[in-house]
Structure formats: structure tokens, C-alpha cells
């Protein structure tokens, strides 16, 4: 092997450096000189000696060449030469180079960015030791891995028969950490895990220690924490003394005992963990559920269970063991609770499975699957447009070099040689474009991640890793392939024609170019229409009447933790509310306990559970309920239609409903003083008022029924504050005063309803932004293509135009001729685009709001815009044609 390597190095050196050549020349020179000297010493004249030496030796140049042939790589040398040539060509036509590179970079960049996201969200395995041995305990249905109780986990761990090792971990919870180790408050992503979690999943703790059995001794014990590498760097600046620090969570100080290896952020894709703590801390961190009960019974399901296959164990056998353990568990449970209770029946109905866990818990994947497919489709179109545009550009270039090709072929230059040069040029252009594309993709990803994280606290380590680079390289090769085709075709046809008729210089009109351009413009029309519809959706969502005011401050408040009974907390918060309501400039302040405009809010599809005082409710209305406190309706500016608001005293059975729910429950009749229950068996509620419909869950939901119930005994809520004058200065001053009044009671940053609205439509904004951006790019590429083709056409027909001018054609006529040529591309594209637009926009229908998928106005605007832009691109070449000066042209000829 070293010998092969040495050979390779020798060859490379010989190929790339002039050193070898120089050395050979020294050798040959010396030999000739020594030969001469020998002949001189035999008595010859110097001249004779030189001549004879030369004859004895042979032609040094030939031997030098042969020697080079022996040791160098021809193909590499040729490639280097071709690339040099390509570089020269590129410098000679900088405009062409910039256009070709930038349009390809856009196509490759968009595709690469999409792939990078797909790779991170869909394809990448967990960054752990032998991920193929990781297994997950789940069921056949639902997104991601199933959730189990601690008792079920404990049974699996005990019944593993050595075939696997099981660990448990809670889903990521965002908990507020106040003032720990002198640092400001921060929301921390926490996962509660079993003591063997790191060992089982195969992640190393690189600094400090992993969790130990003593950490998970008994419930409420084990206030220690492992932090992620990212959290360590972010929160503790990567300092080595992190092991002496603590993190405060729910009033308890957790001592940091270890730092997990870089890259490992837990088993759930998209939800990186900052801090892992022992699951025995559940009673403190997630109070209010029997989380750690380890015998079958009424237990809470809150844990994901992961495992690692034992040495030599196969997943089928591990699965059998796990099933057995589960059967025993369920039987015990049935004995304990009685076989006929619904919970046991439901447990039995679940189809348990042991699955490969290498790709992590992908609960977010289905959510991303559709948008990513959508995005992949768009970017594929963009890439195709960019590649065909490249073909077009290379076509124009090949046409321009027709004469050069012809001369070279006539002089006996090989076809292969000419094609290879062009291939090297395409490859160089595509490779440069690839590098630019990586930068572009990196930028696009970071922008997209900012937009996505506004949507949900998701985080993926998206980056340009090896797989992504390979993908980009593949795109580069494809693009280069698209570029080689024109010159190949040209050279072939020239070689044929030159054999037949000695070479005709006249060019044909490139029909293929026109067809490709029409195709590109059709894609433009499709993307623009889609982007237009999405843009109108965002505008509709943003400007519609929500049923409440937008300029309302929202202040999250909460008093939690030990030493704060809920009633006392509520009293404290009510006091604060009244003080804030009294601030000058504040119209009203009110409390509510349910999320506003939160897509994840709970709602019921169908009114089957609802019961009225006269029997069942009719219809399948989607409905939800919300807890509201004193002053809420005034604070957000919701309008009362009938009756009155909830009384301050909060009569137990009072309820206010909105018009939709009133209609669903009581038809068109008067709803006031009627009664209904939200579940069969639940207490009857008395309707005291009917509110105008307002968008409670999502800005899209026009007619969701809402029951507003009085909030009581709350520990966490939101304070809504409406200002008399929504000017910035007043808002700032009220914010300050409110913060001063609230102090510790404030549990998060102040927002406004407008901001919440923007957040709730982040997904729509993201899709429309991407669609707009990409369609703008594609339109730009398409216009470049038209511009390049028409310019080329005009240049080629200069003579014809000159002759026509001399024969009396006016400049205006020539202008019209070229414009007509351009229209011959643009108009058919628009005509063909129409059915394509309508067919594809149907796919978008479910994402639209307040605009029809066949919206005529959007369709017309897109057509007009595209017509104007595309004809704008034709105009300059047309103008150039009209400015041709026949005298200079003829003199030139």
C-alpha cells in the first residue's frame, strides 16, 4: 500500500508541478554534454562532437515527452488545462458567468436547504453509541412513541430477561428557573429520566458523572441535574466550575453533576433538552399526579420508555419478553381494579409494539411531513428551472461560438476535445454555483429556523453535514449535465454537416430554447399564483375582525411552588389586577386562564357530549371552553349581545356563551337563563349572557362555540390590559408601572394580542414567505432566460435587421418585431399556465383562508404581473434592435 501511495504521489507531483520536467531536462542535458566531452576527448572538433552526440542520443524533446507520459496522469493534466481554459472563458464573459452562477446557486441552494431540513427532521439517527441497538416501547397508533406509566416501565425493566435494558424519560417540559447561581430567570427545557437513561440510550456524560442509582432512591429525592452541552455553554459560558453550580426549578436547587456529550439533546426529535433530572423529582416538578406509583392501579402515564438490546439479542425476542411482561402487568391490573372497568379494557385494546428507536421519538415528523413534501416539490421545480435556464444560457453560448467550433473541427480538432472543454466549463460554473449555494442554503436555513421557532419551541441541529454536502454535490453534477448538452448537440451537428456540405455558418432558430422558456414561465405562473393565494391568506388572517381588540397588553402572571396555596395566590393576583386597572391611561384590566389564539388549545369536535335542559344539543359544532376572571371581557373589548357578564362574585354555575354555542345549544331561541351541561353527568350551568363570536383558539375559526366559565383558585393566568391610547410611549409607561406592581407575580415577558396573532399565524407567514421568495427567484431566472435568448437572437439577426432598415423599415417596426417574438413565448406560457395553476392551487385549498383556490383577482394579477415583467425583459433587446445602425453594420461586414 505505501508503495502504491508513493507511486500516486510521484505521479501527482509529476502532473501538477513543473519539477519533474525540469529534473528530466537536467538529466538529458548532462548526458548530451558528457557524450560531447567524450567525443572531444577522442579528438573530434566541438561541432562534430555535438552533431554525433545528438545522433547517438536521439531527440531530447521526444524523450522528455515520453518520460512525462510515463509518469503523469493525462486525464488530470487535461482536466487542469481544461479548467484553466474554462476560467479564461468565464473571465472573458463576466456577465454571463454571474448570471449562470447566481441562477444555478439559487436552484441548488433552495434544494440543498430543503434537503438539510429534511435530513435533520426526517432522516438523521440519534447521535448515540450504536443507534441500531436502541429500541422504543410504543403502540401501533399515534404520533411518536407512546406514553406509559411508571408502573408499566418498572415491570418491563424487571421482566427484560436480559434481552434488553429499559429506561424511562418524561417528555420535555419547559420550567421556569428563577435566580440560580446569580443568573437571570430563564425557561429551561427539562426531562425527568430514570437513573440508567444515559447508559441505555448510549449517550456519554463527558464532564462530571452520569446519574447513579442513589440519585433515584425515593420519591422527592435526587435534586441533581445533568445539563446538555448547549445549555452548559449558553448558561454557564462553558465554564469548568459548572459542577459547583445549581439550577433552581420549582423552588428546589438542583446541583449540576454532569454535562452530556455535545450533540446529544435527548430522544425526542425537535425538542432539545437543557437539563435532565432524576424522575424521582416528579412530585416536586410535576405535582398533582401519582407519577411514581409502581404497582398497577390508577396511575399517570407520563413516561416514554426506551431500551437498548442486550448483546446478541434480537428485537423479535426482546419484543416477546416485553409482551409477556406487559401481559402480566395488565392481568394484575385487571385483578386489582376489576376486569370490566373501561381503563383496563382500553389498555388491552392498545396494540403494543417494540420498534427500532434509532431515529428517535419523531412526534413532530407528521406535522412536518406535509409542508416538507410541499417545499420539496417547489424547490424541485426551482432546481429544474435553474438547470433548464443553465441549458438555455449554454445554448446561447454554443451558438455564439459556432464559428469557433467549426474552425476547430475543420482544422482537425477532435469533437471530443471541444465537448470536453465545454464540460469542464459547465462543471466549473456549477461548482462555483454549488459553493455559493451552500452559503445561500445556510442563510435560508437560519431564517427559516427563526420563523419556525416562533411557531413552536422546536429546535433542530440543521447544518451542512456530510450528507447535505453530498446532496449539493449531486445537484452540481446534475446542473453540469444540463449545461453540457447544448455544446454536445452543436458539435455533433456541426461535425455531421461539415462532412456533408463543408459547413454552413447560418444558425437555426433554437426551438428547444423557446419550449424550455415557456416551461419555465409556466412554473413561474404556478408558483406566483400559489404565493399570491398564500399572501392573501396571511393578509386576511391579519386584518379580519377577531371579535376583540388588538392593542391589548398580555402579562403572564403566576404564583406557584410550595408555600403558595392556590386561593392565596388568586387573591394576590386579584389585588395586582385592581392596582393595574387603576393606573392612569388603563381602560380595563382582566384575568383569563385559557390560552388565547393558541393552536394547541383543547377543543371538542362535535357537540355530542353537550346536554341542555331540554335534551341533547343539535349539530356537530366544534366547541371549547375558556376560564375568564373579573374584567376580562372589557379588557379585551369583547361585545355582549344579550344578558350580562359573569358576576364578580363568581356564582358557581354561571356561564357566558358565544353566539355559535348559543345557536348550537338552543337554536334561534333566547339563551338567557337556559341551562346546559358540558358532559353527561356534569352539573348544569346557567347561561347569564351571550357574547359576540370571537376567535378564541385560532384566527381561522369563525364559528367555534365557546363557553366562558369563571376562573377560580388559579395559580397561573394571563392579565389583559387595555390602554386608552395605544401609543408607544403610553404602552411603555404602563408596562413599567405594571411590572413594578407585579414584581415576582409576573411570570414571563409582556406581549400584546397583535403579537399573539402574529405568532399564531407564523406557519402561514412562513409558507407564504417561502413561496413568495422562491417565486420571485424563479421569475427572476425566467426573465434572465428570456432576456438572454432575445439578446442573442437580436445579435444573430443584426444583419437581417440592418438590411431591413436599409430597405425602408422603421425602427419602430423592428422594435415591434422583437416584441412580437417575445410575446410568442410569454403569451403561450400564460395560456398554458392557466390550467396548470388551477390544477395545482387545489392542493393548497386547505391552507387558504378567506380566498378561493380559483380566485379570479389573484389569477389576473399574477398574469398581468408576469406579462409586464417578462415583456420588460424583452424590451431592452427589442430596443437594441431598433437602434441598429445599418451603415456601421455593413462597414463591419
Amino acid at each position: 500500500m505505501p508503495r502504491l501511495l508513493k507511486r500516486l504521489l510521484l505521479r501527482l507531483r509529476a502532473t501538477l508541478s513543473p519539477q519533474q520536467d525540469r529534473e528530466t531536462r537536467i538529466e538529458l542535458d548532462l548526458h548530451l554534454r558528457l557524450l560531447e566531452e567524450e567525443f572531444v576527448s577522442q579528438g573530434m572538433t566541438p561541432d562534430d562532437a555535438r552533431r554525433l552526440a545528438r545522433r547517438e542520443f536521439g531527440n531530447p524533446a521526444v524523450f522528455q515527452e515520453m518520460s512525462r507520459d510515463v509518469v503523469s496522469f493525462h486525464w488530470l493534466e487535461d482536466l487542469v488545462r481544461d479548467l484553466r481554459y474554462a476560467g479564461r472563458e468565464m473571465r472573458r464573459a463576466p456577465g454571463f458567468t454571474v448570471i449562470a452562477v447566481s441562477s444555478l446557486a439559487v436552484g441548488i441552494g433552495a434544494a440543498t436547504a430543503t434537503f438539510a431540513v429534511t435530513e435533520a427532521v426526517m432522516l438523521r439517527p440519534l447521535p448515540v453509541r450504536s443507534p441500531e441497538r436502541v429500541i422504543a416501547f410504543t403502540t401501533a397508533d399515534g404520533n411518536g412513541w407512546a406514553t406509559w406509566s411508571y408502573a408499566a416501565y418498572a415491570r418491563w425493566q424487571r421482566g427484560s430477561a436480559g434481552l434488553y435494558e429499559a429506561a424511562a424519560a418524561s417528555d420535555v417540559r419547559s420550567l421556569r428557573s428563577r435566580r440560580s447561581s446569580g443568573l437571570p430567570p430563564e425557561d429551561v427545557a427539562v426531562s425527568l429520566v430514570s437513573g440508567n437513561y444515559f447508559e441505555v440510550i448510549g449517550a456519554r456524560v463527558v464532564f462530571g458523572r452520569a446519574l447513579a442509582a442513589s440519585d433515584v432512591g425515593s420519591p422527592g429525592r435526587g435534586a441533581v441535574a445533568i445539563v446538555s452541552d448547549g445549555f452548559w455553554r449558553r448558561r454557564f459560558g462553558g465554564a469548568a466550575d459548572v459542577l459547583t453550580k445549581t439550577i433552581e426549578l420549582s423552588g428546589v436547587q438542583f446541583t449540576v453533576v454532569g454535562v452530556a456529550e455535545s450533540g446529544f439533546t435527548g430522544h425526542a426529535v425537535g425538542y432539545p433538552v437543557d437539563v435532565w433530572v432524576p424522575l424521582t423529582m416528579q412530585p416536586v416538578l410535576l405535582p398533582g399526579m401519582p407519577g411514581l406509583q409502581d404497582s398497577p392501579g390508577k396511575e399517570a402515564r407520563w413516561l416514554k420508555v426506551v431500551g437498548r438490546l442486550g448483546a446478541n439479542a434480537r428485537i423479535e425476542r426482546a419484543d416477546a419478553a416485553a409482551r409477556l411482561a406487559r401481559q402480566v402487568f395488565l392481568t394484575e391490573k385487571a385483578v386489582q381494579l376489576g376486569a370490566d372497568i373501561p381503563e383496563v379494557a382500553r389498555d388491552r385494546a392498545e396494540s403494543f409494539r417494540l420498534v427500532a428507536g434509532a431515529s428517535g421519538d419523531g412526534a413532530v415528523r407528521p406535522q412536518f411531513g406535509r409542508p416538507l413534501t410541499f417545499l420539496a416539490l417547489i424547490t424541485a421545480l426551482v432546481l429544474i428551472v435553474a438547470c433548464t435556464n443553465f441549458t438555455n444560457l449554454m445554448f446561447a453560448r454554443a451558438e455564439a461560438r459556432r464559428r469557433e467550433f467549426l474552425i476547430r473541427l475543420a482544422l482537425g480538432g477532435g469533437q471530443w476535445r471541444v465537448i470536453r472543454e465545454s464540460a469542464a466549463e459547465c462543471l466549473a460554473l456549477a461548482a462555483i454555483a454549488g459553493v455559493v449555494a451552500l452559503a445561500f442554503a445556510n442563510w435560508a436555513i437560519s431564517i427559516a429556523m427563526v420563523l419556525v421557532s416562533a411557531l413552536e419551541p422546536l429546535d433542530f441541529a440543521i447544518g451542512l453535514n456530510t450528507r447535505v454536502m453530498m446532496f449539493a454535490a449531486g445537484c452540481v453534477m446534475i446542473a453540469a449535465g444540463f449545461g453540457v448538452w447544448p455544446s454536445t448537440r452543436m458539435v455533433r451537428s456541426l461535425a455531421m454537416s461539415s462532412m456533408r456540405q463543408g459547413g454552413a455558418i447560418a444558425g437555426t432558430r433554437p426551438v428547444a430554447n423557446r419550449i424550455m422558456l415557456i416551461g419555465q414561465l409556466v412554473v413561474c405562473a404556478i408558483l406566483m399564483f400559489g404565493a399570491g393565494l398564500l399572501l392573501r391568506t396571511v393578509i386576511n388572517l391579519r386584518t379580519q375582525d377577531l371579535g376583540y381588540e388588538r392593542n391589548v397588553l398580555l402579562i403572564p402572571i403566576g404564583v406557584e411552588g410550595p408555600g403558595h396555596p392556590a386561593e392565596a395566590a388568586a387573591a394576590l393576583m386579584e389585588q395586582s389586577r385592581q392596582r393595574i386597572a387603576a393606573i392612569p391611561g388603563v381602560l380595563a384590566a382582566g384575568v383569563f386562564g385559557s390560552p388565547l389564539l393558541d393552536n394547541r388549545a383543547y377543543w371538542v369536535d362535535g357537540s355530542e357530549g353537550l346536554r341542555t335542559d331540554r335534551g341533547e344539543a343539535s349539530g356537530g359544532t366544534k366547541w371549547t371552553f375558556a376560564f375568564v376572571g373579573p374584567g376580562f371581557f372589557d379588557a379585551v373589548g369583547m361585545q355582549l349581545v344579550h344578558g350580562r357578564r359573569l358576576s364578580e362574585s363568581g356564582q358557581g354555575s354561571e356561564v357566558v356563551i358565544n353566539e355559535s354555542l348559543a345557536r348550537a345549544l338552543f337554536g334561534e331561541g333566547d339563551a338567557i337563563d337556559r341551562h346546559f351541561a358540558m358532559n353527561p353527568g356534569a352539573p348544569m350551568l346557567t347561561v347569564v349572557g351571550v357574547m359576540q363570536n370571537a376567535r378564541q383558539i385560532s384566527p381561522r375559526d369563525r364559528d367555534v362555540g365557546v363557553a366562558y366559565l369563571p376562573i377560580r383558585g388559579y395559580g397561573r393566568a394571563t392579565l389583559a390590559v387595555r390602554l386608552a391610547n395605544p401609543s408607544l410611549s403610553q404602552a411603555a409607561s404602563v408596562r413599567q408601572q405594571a411590572q413594578a406592581i407585579l414584581g415576582d407575580v409576573q411570570s414571563g415577558p409582556i406581549t400584546t394580542i397583535s403579537q399573539e396573532l402574529e405568532r399564531s399565524i407564523a406557519a402561514e407567514r412562513l409558507t407564504s414567505a417561502i413561496a413568495l421568495f422562491l417565486s420571485a427567484l424563479v421569475v427572476a431566472i425566467g426573465c434572465i432566460g428570456i432576456y438572454a435568448l432575445m439578446t442573442y437572437d437580436v445579435t444573430r439577426r443584426q444583419r437581417e435587421f440592418g438590411v431591413r432598415l436599409t430597405l425602408g423599415a422603421t425602427a419602430g417596426r423592428l422594435l415591434a418585431t422583437v416584441l412580437r417574438d417575445g410575446a410568442a413565448i410569454v403569451v403561450p406560457a400564460l395560456a398554458l399556465g392557466l390550467p396548470a395553476q388551477l390544477a395545482t392551487s387545489r392542493l393548497l385549498a386547505s391552507q387558504l383562508y378567506g380566498v378561493d383556490a380559483r380566485d379570479l383577482w389573484t389569477l389576473a394579477s399574477v398574469a398581468i404581473l408576469l406579462l409586464v415583467v417578462a415583456m420588460g425583459a424583452v424590451f431592452r433587446p427589442a430596443w437594441l434592435a431598433s437602434r441598429i445602425d445599418p451603415t456601421t453594420l455593413l462597414r463591419h461586414e
Binding site: 508503495r3 508513493k6 507511486r7 510521484l10 505521479r11 529534473e23 528530466t24 537536467i26 538529466e27 538529458l28 548532462l30 548526458h31 558528457l34 557524450l35 547517438e56 542520443f57 536521439g58 531527440n59 531530447p60 521526444v62 524523450f63 515527452e65 515520453m66 518520460s67 507520459d69 510515463v70 509518469v71 487535461d78 477532435g414 471530443w416 476535445r417
Partner: protein, 115 residues
């Protein structure tokens, strides 16, 4: 691209004999190109004639094949010259090639005596 047809480097020599002669010459010690050519001429009593320049492509190929290697040194007259020497592989190669050549020569001689 058309390449000039490769000329057989051995000139009038029998195909494949030049490397063997070079190896044999170098078996007596490292030497530079001119000296190798002179020795071949002397030993063969000028019967085996080659264009001396054709030695160099052959040397370079053998170096690439790893049966000889080279270093820069100075001649008796203090001139900078590239010296070639046998590698261990070269020594083995010389032995096997010599044997092969001898057997061929013997076979040819036997055939010629037959007639």
C-alpha cells in the same frame, strides 16, 4: 485529442531487454544515466546499440514501478547528476528476469542448433 504514437523506447533492442540490462548494470552499484549507457555499450561490446536518450523514459518507468529509486549526487567531475540504484524489489526482479531470459535464450539456442 490525438497523441503522437508511442515509439518503442528500446530502438533496435529486443522488446523488454533494456530494463534487464539496466538492472544488471545497477547490480554493481548506483550510477547515473550516462554511466549506465556507457557500461551497457562496453559490456555488450557495442553490439547492442540504442538511442541513448531512450534510457530515460525506461529509467523513469522503472522508478515509478519501484524496482529502482533515485537520488541526486555529483559525478567525478563534480557535476550534479541523478543517480539510480536497485531497490530490494529490483534485486529480486533482476534475479527472476535473468532466469527467465536465460531459459528463453537456452530455448532459442536449442531450436537454432536443431536446424
Amino acid at each position: 485529442m490525438a497523441r503522437p504514437p508511442a515509439r518503442p523506447p528500446q530502438g533496435e533492442l529486443l522488446q523488454g531487454t533494456l530494463p534487464l540490462l539496466i538492472l544488471r548494470t545497477l547490480a554493481t552499484g548506483p550510477n547515473h544515466g550516462f554511466a549506465i549507457a556507457r557500461r551497457i555499450r562496453q559490456i555488450s561490446k557495442a553490439v547492442l546499440r540504442i538511442e541513448q536518450g531512450s534510457l530515460y523514459p525506461a529509467l523513469h518507468r522503472m522508478e515509478l514501478d519501484g524496482i529502482i529509486d533515485s537520488y541526486w549526487g555529483t559525478t567525478e567531475n563534480n557535476r550534479k547528476a541523478k543517480y539510480y540504484r536497485l531497490t530490494r524489489r529490483g534485486t529480486r526482479e533482476l534475479a527472476s528476469e535473468t532466469e527467465r531470459w536465460n531459459s528463453i535464450a537456452a530455448a532459442v539456442a536449442a531450436v537454432l542448433q536443431e536446424g
